[in-house]
Amino acid sequence: MQTHLLSWITFTPLAGALLVLLLPKNNSRLIKSVATAATLLTGALTVKALTLFNAAEPGFQMIEKAVWIPQFNVHYYLGTDGISFPMVFLTALISILACIGSFGIKTREKEYYFLYLLLETGMMGTFLALDLFLFYIFWEVVLVPMYFLIGIWGGPRREYAAIKFFLYTLTGSMFMLLGILALYFKSEPHTFDWVRLANAGFDPGFQKIVFLALFLGFAVKVPCFPFHTWLPDAHVEAPTPISVILAGVLLKMGTYGFMRFSYPFLPDAAEWFRPALAILAVIGIVYGGFVAFAQSDFKKMVAYSSVSHMGFVLLGLAAFTSDGFNGALLQMFNHGTITAGLFLLVGVLYDRAHTRDMGAFGGLSAVTPVYAGILIFFSLASLGLPGMSGFISEFMTLLGSYTYSKLFTGLACIGIILAAAYLLTMIRKVLLGPVNDKWKGLTDINLRELITLVPLMAFILWIGVYPKVILSYMASSVQVLLASVGGVS
């Protein structure tokens, strides 16, 4: 089992999904237990992998490689390193929590958990695949369940949101496929193998074209301005646990793609695209912040704050420094935990009040004190309060980008101020002020909801106080990445 640990991590959810298909439709308890067990088992396997993971080793570990399609030199090739492992861990964590968070779903449960587990397999595979063909397959496998999860269990405009998400991502990934094929045919001998492509050394002109093709695929996912318009729709319309997955894991697939593929394969193009990337990052940060500020819908505000926070990841990637890259990767993890928490909290409120209009609330801190405390905790984490994880990663990306461009760094800081503005406004509107009589009977957060939130809080605090706990896993791999693109450490 140890030798195929990554395969187990990837396909345990799929096995769970197939098991769910065999269960009777009406036995909702059993379906939920099987689904949760599958995510928990995946989590346990991930922890097992964590114990085997050698943080000092910069290259890939726990590699599994087998020939799949010999005619195209396609391999079933999995492996993990300091860049992908935090993402795998995040996926396992968020999947468990969102699965528990899904217990509120009351319709078509069998289909729901089947698709949910299929989605987890897709996400795990995306982060673990080292063969571009395999990567593409997992990348696309994520799309289909997501379409259904938004489209069937979403809000009023779910159909529109689902197809928009699907078409945007599919268009991007079609161009990504062309880029992948170009890499394949340019390499001698033709290969999809990560290690070979990273050492291929393509000529700069070719690199730029391919970088652009891959960029379209990844940027839609991040989402990077101006490809972000699917995000507010999808996040708002998706049911709570799916918003959590979207914000917590799916967005990271895009930035992960840059770090894993675009940068090492196409270092010259990456260097050339740096200013563009930085500009898009800053636009995302500031624009996302302003739009979030303007929202009255709680969930939409959190959605736009994602655009803003993911901008920091891109800024870190444009920095080409050790701090920038580490910060970007850490920000991916932190944004995953913090925003997942915020979406869960929006869900908690929505389940009770059936509205997300912030203006309709007020004084909830008196009615639901525990909820209020937790909401304040996550808001502070999101706006970058020192001592919490969000601060560390945003600070690192800014530190990294400072050496690259003081202007962009300065502009990006506006995003932090804006985050404080919109999050504190939200707290004021929802929690403070006179109690709205309408919400007097609101019940406080329950145990199940607490279970989904507390682990996230633990990670936020832990990383906030002692970031080395996670940075030490990333550092050596990030260093290699940095060297491959010729950045300064």
């Binding site: 197809i163 078409l167 079609m174 062309l178 045919f185």
Partner: protein
């Protein structure tokens, strides 16, 4: 090779032909016409596994004084044809519209069409090419208008006939030009035209005219107009068959003609086909969006798919040529599968309107899931068959450096996903209107299961199929 000698290499075809004739006789004697159908399936499977006399690893054999060529390529398409036909017969057996009095001859007609299709793959002589194409066309007209009580079917058959005749006439004219220039009907001799410069222009015009006839068969734009009407009005199993088999063999023939006779001016027809490929996929996809009838939607989708397959023909490189074959296999599984679901649904709802698919996920979860798989495969989502086909033709475009073509295909794929998901959306996201139970007759369910397995198999274990294709192409 003379006729008597050739006969022993022609046994599988003769087996099929005699099977067709026996089924005609059987029709007179058995009361339950379904038995004729099952007999036809047996004949087809028998043809598929019929032992080949010669070892084809060596030189291709020229049969009947060079009218036909027997090589691995022919064998590949023979097996593909009969398997497609077997699936067609299987899904026809429980098709509601077919009246018992006519059912027997229907199977005979299908078997005969199969014979014609195999000849299309084997022909290397212009006369034989024309005859086999016409043979298949005539059978298709009859099959289209087979439901005599339906006015729509009659109209479609007539339309098909008129279009088809015009296209054949134009193709024949092209052939006559080639004959005039080269003095021969043999593709292998026509190739020598390359040495005689004065005939260059004539050859080019002839080839274009030739492509009109073939383009008609594969529903290439702008010769696709007949397709939606014919597919809509024809009996659904026939529509399934027509979207797959004549198209596949049309491509088989087109590749044979281009590679044997006209490879020397590929720098002329390659850009032409590129334009036609982009046109075909765009016309198919854009028109499909507005369709409200599932058969018309699948008709336009099949036009678009022809556009993708043309990518492989136009590049004609080491990924393009096998790409066409792989795509055809993947497409056969997928499209036949989609039509199987259409038949099962229409058997109970008596409608092919898209709206009758609303809430299918609740009424018939297995059917809805299957149709979703087929739609995803047509949209080219991995890990399904359609993706492997698309992967191949995209590869060929990238390898050949045809960036315009690749980008056009990528954009088209995104457009296509929209209408494929329209069907999926109806099944899963829209509440049902008519809570009718849908029966699962055995032959249809069997066919559906096999096609589903095929769709997954091509996607998950493509190497098996790629190997088969490579054998067919001697690479």
């Amino acid at each position: 090779m003379n006729a008597t000698e050739s006969l022993r290499y022609f046994l599988p075809e003769l087996f099929l032909l005699s099977g067709a004739l026996i089924s005609l006789g059987l029709d007179l004697f058995v009361r339950n016409k379904k038995l004729v159908g099952f007999f036809a399936v047996l004949v087809l499977l028998g043809t598929a596994v019929f032992p080949q006399v010669s070892d084809l690893a060596g030189k291709p054999l020229e049969l009947f004084y060079g009218f036909f060529t027997l090589d691995a390529y022919t064998c590949f398409f023979r097996v593909l044809t009969v398997l497609i036909l077997a699936a067609t017969v299987l899904i026809s057996i429980s098709y509601r519209e077919l009246s018992p009095s006519e059912e027997g001859e229907y199977y005979t007609l299908l078997l005969l069409t199969g014979f014609g299709l195999i000849l299309m793959a084997a022909s290397t002589n212009l006369l034989m090419i024309f005859l086999s194409v016409e043979f298949v066309s005539l059978m298709s007209y009859i099959l289209t208008g087979f439901l005599r009580k339906s006015h729509k079917a009659k109209e479609a058959a007539m339309k098909y006939l008129l279009y088809g005749s015009a296209a054949s006439g134009i193709m024949l004219f092209g052939m006559s030009l080639v004959f005039g220039a080269s003095g021969s009907l043999e593709l292998s001799i026509i190739r020598n035209l390359s040495a005689t410069a004065p005939f260059y222009g004539v050859t080019l015009i002839a080839l274009i005219l030739f492509l009109v006839g073939l383009g008609f068969k594969i529903s290439m734009a702008p010769f696709h107009m007949w397709a939606p009407d014919v597919y809509e009005a024809a009996p659904t199993p026939v529509a399934a068959f027509l979207t797959v088999a004549p198209k596949a063999l049309g491509f088989a023939l087109m590749m044979r003609v281009l590679s044997t006779g006209f490879l020397w001016i590929n720098w002329k027809w390659s850009p032409l086909l590129m334009g036609l490929s982009i046109l075909t996929m765009t016309v198919g996809n854009v028109t499909a969006i507005a369709q409200t009838n599932i058969k018309r939607l699948l008709a336009y989708s099949s036009i678009a798919q022809a556009g993708y397959i043309l990518m492989g023909v136009c590049t004609f490189n080491e990924t393009g040529v096998p790409g066409v074959l792989i795509y055809l296999v993947a497409y056969a599984f997928t499209n036949l599968g989609a039509f199987t679901v259409v038949i099962m649904v229409s058997n109970s709802t008596k409608s092919d309107e898209l709206l009758s698919y609303a809430g299918l996920a609740k009424r018939a979860p297995f059917l809805a899931a299957s149709l979703t798989v087929f739609m995803l495969s047509l949209a080219g989502i991995p890990p399904l068959a359609g993706f492997i086909g698309k992967f191949y033709v995209f590869s060929s475009a990238i390898q050949a450096g045809y960036l315009t073509l690749a980008v056009a295909a990528a954009v088209n794929s995104a457009i296509a996903a929209f209408y494929y998901f329209k069907v999926v959306r109806l099944m899963y996201l829209v509440p049902e209107e008519t809570p009718e139970k849908i029966p699962y007759p055995l032959p249809l369910t069997l066919a559906l299961g096999l096609l589903l397995i095929g769709t997954f198999a091509v996607g998950l274990a493509p190497s098996v199929f790629i190997k088969a294709v490579q054998t067919a192409l001697f690479v």
